[in-house]
Amino acid sequence: MKIVQARQISQVFFFAMFVWFSIVSSLGEKLWQIRGWPVKWFLHLDPLAAIGTVLSTHTLYRPLLWALVTIVLTIVFGRFFCGWACPFGSVHHFVGYLGRHDKSAARKIQLNAYRKAQALKYIILAVLLGMAAFPSVAATLQVGLLDPIPLVTRSFDLLLVPLLDRSAGIASATERFYEGAWLVLAVFGTAVLLNLLIPRFYCRFICPLGALFAILGRFAFWRIGKRSGDCINCRACERSCEGGCEPAGRIRMSECVLCFNCLDDCGHEVIGYQRRKSATGEVTGPDVSRRGFVLSLAGGVFAAPSLRLASRLGGNRGHTIIRPPGALGEGEFLKRCVKCGKCMRICPTNVIQPGGIEGGLENIWTPVLNNRIGSSGCQLNCTACGQVCPTSAVRPITLDEKLGRGAFADDGPIRIGTAFLDKNRCLPWAMDKPCIVCEENCPVSPKAIYTQELFNMVRGGVVTVKELAGDSIVVEQNLPPGKFAGGDYYLAAAEHRSKIIDNTGSSVEIVTGGNLRANLVPGAIIAIQVRLQRPFVDIEKCIGCGVCEHECPVGGKKAIRVSAVGETRSPDRRLLLER
């Protein structure tokens, strides 16, 4: 077997595994559901997530130790991950191949030429790491914007799987909706289509992870290069060069993704994988000056506090930015979230959504709850999101911790926000219509929504008794037939009140018994009332789950809405005097 075939098998294997992990990231016990599948493994293998969080938090979260495997292998072998394992790289590889395979050899060589702009990725890496390394609370982890592993993860999890599964409906608990999916598509689609312009465009120019591998791999034990000077300079080796690293001349080590196409294409067996440097010399490090790199790093360090000038962690906090249960305080959260979208994928109710630009740059693609999307707010007995978070930006909490039971009884439940009633939209408050769907669905015990009974006169509800016939009261006015049947309407006079059973255009039938009937005489003026149960929110009980908001029948802008106030994750967002 040729080495390029081994590489192809490896790429197909890792890509298939990645897609499989995307498909199975759905709640359930079936073979094609989450069970015990290690769906965050690729994210743990990602050294950019590991180094980024190390810089921002000064700790290495346990499962990210996997990244050490990638780092060690890269130090020994070079950028093998890009050419052999990266699922995003494999997509680019394949699309790039489609784009160039029918072109002439000369054109291919031209497409694969090294370009000075390939140094851009080192700048990007430096800026992103600089932001993470800002030496104070303002450190912010933004590597996830362009890190290929989170990028391809959210592209599959939030875009491709939901789209392809639309008719089958087997890969998700519910039909999936993701706000701002267009932005995920725009980034993914652009990255993929750019391969038709220049193969592996993203890998060569943009990829900060590739840049990191290039730096890590500069001491690689084995490297691609010419075995001897016996080269006729046919440049066949550059026809299919994935990295654009110019193996025919002085090979650029930092750009080589170890695709081994040059080795395969060289008809003269000049190219080898060897410990020696190339016979025609090599450029080992990235094509960016130390000064340039340091300046970019410094740029990132300055960018971090500039993001905070918006005061989004202070008084200008986004009240709609409700984080999943178990999320760290906002500052710590932003040091860890890599924007992979796994929590949004696994969420059985689909309530966790990718954040948009409205919350600032830092908010993009971070998990935000939108109770108007999905099946039913944040489900009380569910802790799925934290279990799939690769960096513990959303901690893997237990149900006991979420609900404040057992060992957590003293801490109380985790609150992700507080529900606020909009009395100008609420049916019983604003329209005198019975409703209280919010109260019915409030899942905590005792309920955080309680009601107070009230009898209000209906519009045009003053009527005059004409005559009395048993339990039927004939009135002088015209009534809409049947309007007051249904058990929510009452006839009242002075301190007496009786429930209406039915009404015709001219008479009202009330329940048998009661004091009202006995006290009525023709000519008496009585009122038709509606019995209302008006809802109130008990902020000591409300956990912000949003089921009330989801179920509220007042569409569009709901009459009860959850705000990110009173969150237990950040003490400075406290609302209650006592826990």
Binding site: E440, G486, G487, Q533, G555
Partner: protein, 331 residues
């Protein structure tokens, strides 16, 4: 000579172009004629094809309309309760397809009693299978996310183990219906498809407190069949429950009062919300079953306007004692 050739070529070119242009014009004309719409779009509210649920009710047998069995073990009490109505074979025949509609509204564990008890559902499935049912499906259109509801309540596991197929609702399962004489159920989407092929329908519901309607029992259980923005019906909860009981005519309903949710319903959330009443009701008359069931909550049938409304519509009787319910006590 050259000129002549040029002319000829030009002429051929002209002819060819004319033909192509002609075909293009004809195609444009044909497409326009084929798609021509003289009236423009309507309101979009035109009558769609409506469906109606079957009538699954069994032939009445005096003294075998309702049964009340006391005892702590749901498997034993439900078997006995159905026996007292003439046995499961009265409702389920060899080779039939049975649909069971438990209350699976919430994604909460069985011990909290907010949903139908999984053991009870499993026992009814088993009875149907033993009676020779070819296929038993268990389904609901819950409030919380459906897959989680069936999983967390334990109903999926228990029902599948007993030989049923659990069906989760999908958009394609919904059809519009209108209730004859109904005021609220007019061209409204209902969860229909899984029930279309059923030969028998059994409803299973726990007895629960419900702030808006007073109590959630077998009649309220059919709320799960409503699709669309069904929460608007809370504005007239009694009428919608009464209309649902007119729309669905089940073979049998089972009302589980083994543990009754006394407060904080219909979601519950704490064992403290439950009270042991050790009562199981099987009934061919939903109104009668619920009229008795509400007494377990300390209510009278007159406290629940939907019972009287359904009785007036001829669904059943609130005077359950007139049915002389068969009863038994199991230890």
């Amino acid at each position: 000579m050259t000129e002549q050739t040029g002319n000829r070529l030009e002429r051929r070119e002209l002819l060819l172009r004319s033909v192509k242009a002609g075909v293009s014009i004809a195609a444009a004309g044909l497409v326009s004629a084929a798609l021509y719409d003289s009236d423009g779009p309507g309101s979009g509210l035109d009558a769609e094809s409506l469906v109606t649920f079957k009538d699954w009710a069994v032939t009445p047998e005096p003294g075998r309309t309702m049964s009340i069995v006391r005892g702590p073990d749901r498997r034993a009490t439900v078997t006995k309760a159905i026996d007292l109505l003439g046995g499961i074979r009265r409702f389920v025949k060899q080779g039939q397809t049975v649909a069971i509609k438990p209350n699976v509204a919430f994604a909460s564990p069985a011990m909290l009693g907010a949903t139908a008890n999984p053991e009870l559902v499993a026992e009814v499935v088993k009875l149907c299978r033993d009676a020779g049912a070819k296929r038993v499906i268990v389904t609901d259109n819950p409030i919380n996310e459906a897959a989680s509801c069936f999983m967390l309540t334990g109903i999926r596991g228990a029902a599948e183990l007993a030989g049923a197929k659990v069906v989760l609702p999908r958009q394609s399962h919904f059809r519009s219906t209108s209730l004859e004489g109904g005021r609220l159920i007019r061209s409204w989407p209902v969860y229909f498809e899984p029930f279309a092929r059923a030969d028998a329908l059994i409803g299973i519901a726990p007895v629960k407190h419900h702030q808006r309607s007073g109590a959630s029992m077998t009649m309220k259980n059919w709320y799960g069949l409503l699709g669309g923005p069904r929460n608007v019906f809370h504005q007239d909860i009694n009428t919608i429950i009464a209309e649902l009981s007119m729309m669905v005519k089940p073979s049998l309903v089972i009302l589980d009062g083994t543990e009754v949710m006394m407060t904080n319903g219909p979601t519950g959330g704490s064992r403290a919300d439950l009270r042991r009443a050790d009562t199981m009701i099987a009934s061919c008359d939903m109104v009668a079953a619920d009229s008795f069931g509400c007494t377990l909550l300390g209510l009278k049938p007159a406290d629940l306007p939907y019972l009287a409304a359904a009785a007036r519509a001829g669904v059943g009787t609130t005077d359950y004692q007139s049915l002389k319910p068969a009863s038994a006590v199991l230890s």
